[in-house]
Point group: C2
Chain length 229, copies 2
Amino acid sequence: MRINGKMPCEACRNKCDLHDAFRRSGRIVPESSIIRAGFRKHEMICRQGDSVSHAIYLTGGTAKLYIEGINGHNIILYLMRPPAYIGLLSFFESIHYTYSVTAIEDSQVCMVKLDLLKELYLENHEVLLRLNKAFGKSVALIMKKIICLNQKNIRGRIAESLLSLASFYGTDSFRLPVTRKELGEMSAISEENTVRLLTELKNEGIISVHGRDVTIIDNVFLSKISELG
Amino acid sequence: MRINGKMPCEACRNKCDLHDAFRRSGRIVPESSIIRAGFRKHEMICRQGDSVSHAIYLTGGTAKLYIEGINGHNIILYLMRPPAYIGLLSFFESIHYTYSVTAIEDSQVCMVKLDLLKELYLENHEVLLRLNKAFGKSVALIMKKIICLNQKNIRGRIAESLLSLASFYGTDSFRLPVTRKELGEMSAISEENTVRLLTELKNEGIISVHGRDVTIIDNVFLSKISELG
DNA sequence: ATGTAACATTGATATAAATCAACTATATTT
DNA sequence: AAATATAGTTGATTTATATCAATGTTACAT
């Protein structure tokens, strides 16, 4: 992780809710109160169990938000691209992160001490409302995930993951940002079965797969698989 | 469901955040803006998929919050006793409930139109902060649930459910508020395996079971089962 | 260019947990 | 009190999915 000057965060300008909040507040707070930091691919942005000291806002790159379970068995809840709050779900009640976030490509964040943010939102509703909205969105995603992981078979689960990636990129043709193992972790499937399922869907002509390049050929059918299990 | 007078909600006084919020606000709002309602055992308080029109606060009784999945296969996320927000997780972003809540014993709620609550928290931080805190608590619970359901075997899952019931009641000796099927739904286990596991734990002297009366005899060991799967 | 580590693939096997089926016990209604 | 519905129990069977093992492939570092 590189702080401030070393990896300048141009992307942040106009992309960062935290900076915006301070600008709008009219409060006299030195810009230096908001730390800009860069993370290389595979670097951890926050770690499950660590205490939450800063609000973190993703302004560049891509990251995965996941739960670290037993025996190094992770569950990826969702991927994140800017603009997105990272240290969000643990804001208000949890003292410790209930999940980890790791960069899956070089990423930039802005972060501000929680104390300062709290001072800010005590005099400014809008910040809190924005936090809340983002919060609600995350919860909706997580509920969907719980249903998926517990109610669908692995075929339905991988279909849902592929569809969610397509909507993440806004196109049915994309390059997987994750390994097979991680694609499995998005769907709570073993790496081996993930590979098998991709091959299966390919052989059925529903998707095309060349290495990490995936194209959803039959979106309607894939959606049906996702819905019906 | 019975509205207002028919099933008076004495329990509400001093237990209802919604009433408190309005009292504190100093706003001139007729008390009748907050509806009091009673629900009989098994009656639904809100239904997954329905649009969220009111904030609902549980002031009496007990309810289960659950996701309705495929083939009538539910997952109970947690049980609720007053004081607790019901229509919480879907407040800010979701237009529709992402879960259902049903009374598991006769219950009372207070509810207020979302519009009115929004007006209120736009001029009063405290309300929003309280909502947020409750929000955060729910999320922490849900994260724990996801880990449990996906990382533990059924023995570890039922152990966790029993322990959570004990902490819910604040005692290691309690009467199950739910059927075997529902206890299974709390742990994503089939009814049959739930029964088998209870018998197993009983035979091992870890718990005692007589009908719905459960006592956790060896809390330490049960906790170990819960942790290690 | 070569070696090493990370990633991907395929087949065989093991196993946890669901489902099916039949039956008993306990409530609730008439 | 009888009848019906709901809840609880047990055993046998099936099935979905993980795990194990072996091997191929690609990317990365020296």
